[in-house]
């Protein structure tokens, strides 16, 4: 389900966190003499919008506008009927109905007299919006900001990873002999009741890589890959029920701190949240392990 319980717990993520992040973006705008930073967000690609505002769309797409001198504005394709709820779970107060957010952006630029604006990851914006942005009288330039997570973010990732790890290991211990669909349902119930917004569960009995449940009974060597979103922070954990010592034969790295929940990476990027998974193989049975790490200046640290 995309996406379940969306909330903002100010004790774990204070308003100060967002003010600090917005101030950092504005400082960058100042250095480049740009009046505005535009951040694209949608149901699946919401890491960046969440970082600055705690806005995570459950449907549709939006543009978050961060003016250098004013409060942020959300150009939102959702109905005004849900704006009170959006305001209750984000730092946003100015939400404007925008069935066509690119058009809304160009109108604001025209009103304000902004001729050149910054767009976070301009090349990664969906093609149709990108075309509209480039067709207007406003020059849109690419802005890349350091993706380094702050302490608040690391704390959220730690919580999410601990939640995923503990829950998965407990369910794994009683998973042998269970149908994969049933096992997936158990994870859904456990984690959603604990506040997870979304889960992606992949499983295998060792003949294939983990994949969506297909009606198989889980055997003694089964492995599970769990991607879990907790309050907008995605983590990944993989475990095998097998008691045999894993001997890695293949390694795969994913970046969790880019615009997507997770995307493959061909290197161990630093200042990033990474999911590292490895495959081991014994007597043609494939097993999978993995976890979520903070890749800082001192190397990988388990979150």
């Amino acid at each position: 389900m995309k996406r379940g319980w969306i909330t903002w717990d100010r004790t774990e993520l204070p308003r100060e966190a967002f003010e600090t992040r917005l101030a950092s973006a504005r400082k960058h705008l100042g250095e480049r003499d740009l009046p505005l930073l535009v951040v694209y967000t949608d149901i699946w690609k919401s890491n960046q919008g969440r970082h600055f505002s705690n806005y995570m769309p459950y449907w549709n797409r939006a543009l978050l506008l961060i003016p250098r001198e004013e409060s942020p504005v959300l150009l939102c394709a959702l109905s005004p009927r849900v704006y009170p709820w959006i305001k209750s779970v984000t730092v946003l107060n100015d939400i404007r109905p925008s069935p066509n957010p690119a058009q809304g952006l160009l109108e604001i630029c025209s009103e304000k007299g902004w001729e050149k604006i910054g767009v976070l990851g301009l090349g990664q914006v969906p093609y149709d919006l990108h075309q509209q942005m480039r067709a207007g009288a406003v020059e849109a330039v690419d802005v890349s900001l350091p993706a380094e997570p702050d302490e608040w973010e690391l704390s959220m990732y730690r919580h999410a990873a601990a939640l995923a790890r503990t829950g998965l290991e407990e369910e794994l211990a009683v998973g042998v002999g269970v149908l994969d669909h049933e096992f997936t349902g158990r994870l859904e119930r456990r984690f959603r009741r604990a506040g997870a917004e979304d889960l992606v569960v992949l499983l295998t009995n060792g003949q294939t890589a983990p994949r969506p449940a297909a009606g198989e009974t889980l055997g003694e060597d089964f492995s599970v890959s769990l991607a879990l979103e907790y309050r907008g922070h995605w983590v990944k954990v993989a475990r095998s029920a097998s008691t045999r010592d894993p001997v890695p034969v293949r390694l795969h790295v994913e970046n969790l701190s880019g615009p997507y929940p997770y995307e493959p990476s061909d290197r161990l990027e630093t200042q990033s949240i990474l999911a590292v998974r490895f495959e081991s193989q014994t007597e043609r049975v494939r097993r999978f392990h993995g976890d979520t790490y903070w890749s800082g200046s001192e190397g990988l640290k388990l979150l």
Partner: protein, 352 residues
């Protein structure tokens, strides 16, 4: 998993349009253009299927685990740099181009968008697709039964969503899209679940949309905790009449704008015409298939002639001052002479 009938349709389209190569793009949220040909539930974030006019199919995925899902008859490559992998593709047309990152399209030269053409092909379901839709609708029925059994006073909305989500996954759903609301006349729309606790007298609305074999079916129902009051019953009667009007009217050859109009006319008849516009509601239904919110939208301003084999939901969901936001709707299959509901759930104002 490789839809041969769809491949035939696509190569015919390519011949008509003079395209040598057609690319079908999908990302993790919108897998539908990719899955309409290669129906595998990839993790992503990206996947593309390249079709040649001769009928050869080649796939590009970004996660090595996804490569193992691709049938052996299709060659597949794994690309951690998707933009680079698209570099040599040079398709003349792309379905799903509007969804692609702009930098990906830049790698493709200047292809035409095949999105509209492929959507039009997808609108009319093949017999296999109809079977998948029926399975998804049956699961939405049992999911709603579960919803109505477990909802109780004092339970939070998100706990209820967790119970339903677990049920649907336990019974084979790949995914589910669900919105919910609870309360009285103060409720103006549905949204994701909150920590609000259900109370006696609440209208609890939901739309459940489980996905089976890639296909989404939807059911909308309203449940009252306790005995429904007179206004809730009065509101439900209007919704029920409006939905029935759509179902009685829907058949091949009618315009989708009229499917919206006959629903709205019921509200107008009872003096609630003002509540059929965008201030209070989004659409009066929409297409269903490999995406859960397909065109055409059922709106009076949309001009589209209905065809046999289409699947859609008619739902007159809106706010009424009588009861607050209320929902009611079933997935429908357009048949030769009318339409048939894919859902079997009783059509009533549920009570618990």
């Amino acid at each position: 998993m490789l839809n041969q009938q769809r491949l035939h349709q696509l190569t015919n389209l390519m011949s008509e349009r003079g395209w040598e190569r057609l690319l079908l793009y999908g990302h993790t949220w919108r897998k539908d253009f990719f899955r309409c040909l290669l129906n595998v539930n990839f993790s992503g974030p990206h996947a593309a299927a390249m079709v040649s006019r001769a009928g050869e199919v080649r796939a590009i995925v970004t996660d090595p685990w996804d490569a193992e899902l691709i049938p052996p008859s299709v060659s597949v490559s794994v690309a951690s740099n998707f933009a680079q992998a698209l570099g040599g593709a040079a398709p003349q047309a792309v379905a799903g181009m509007e969804l692609m990152e702009a930098r990906f399209v830049a790698e493709l030269g200047e292809p035409a968008s095949a999105t509209f053409d492929v959507e039009e092909i997808r609108r009319v379901k093949t017999s296999d697709e109809v079977e998948s839709m029926k399975k998804a609708a049956a699961l939405s029925d049992s999911g709603y039964q579960h919803f109505s059994r477990v909802a109780e006073e004092g339970m939070t909305e998100y706990e209820l969503a967790a119970e339903v989500e677990a049920f649907l996954k336990r019974h084979g759903a790949e995914d589910n899209f669900m919105l919910i609301a609870s309360g009285g006349t103060e409720v103006t729309g549905m949204k994701p679940p909150t920590e609000r606790k259900l109370q006696l007298g609440d209208s609890v609305t939901t739309e459940l949309t489980p996905q089976v074999d890639g296909y989404w079916a939807q059911i909308c129902r309203t449940l009252v905790l306790g005995e429904p009051n007179a206004k809730q019953r009065e509101a439900f009667a209007i919704f029920s009449e409006a939905q029935k009007a759509a179902e009685d009217f829907l058949r091949p050859g009618v315009n989708i704008s009229d499917v919206a109009r006959v629903q709205n006319d019921v509200f107008r008849k009872y003096g609630y015409g003002d509540y059929t516009g965008p201030k209070y509601t989004r659409v009066r239904g929409h297409g269903l298939g490999l995406h859960l919110d397909e065109n055409p939208y059922v709106l009076e301003e949309v001009n589209y002639v209905v065809k046999e084999g289409m699947t859609l939901i008619a739902h007159p969901n809106t706010y009424l001052p009588l009861s607050g936001y209320m929902v009611f709707g079933d997935s429908l299959l357009v048949t030769a002479n009318g339409c048939t509901p894919l859902n079997q759930t009783e059509r009533k104002l549920f009570q618990r």
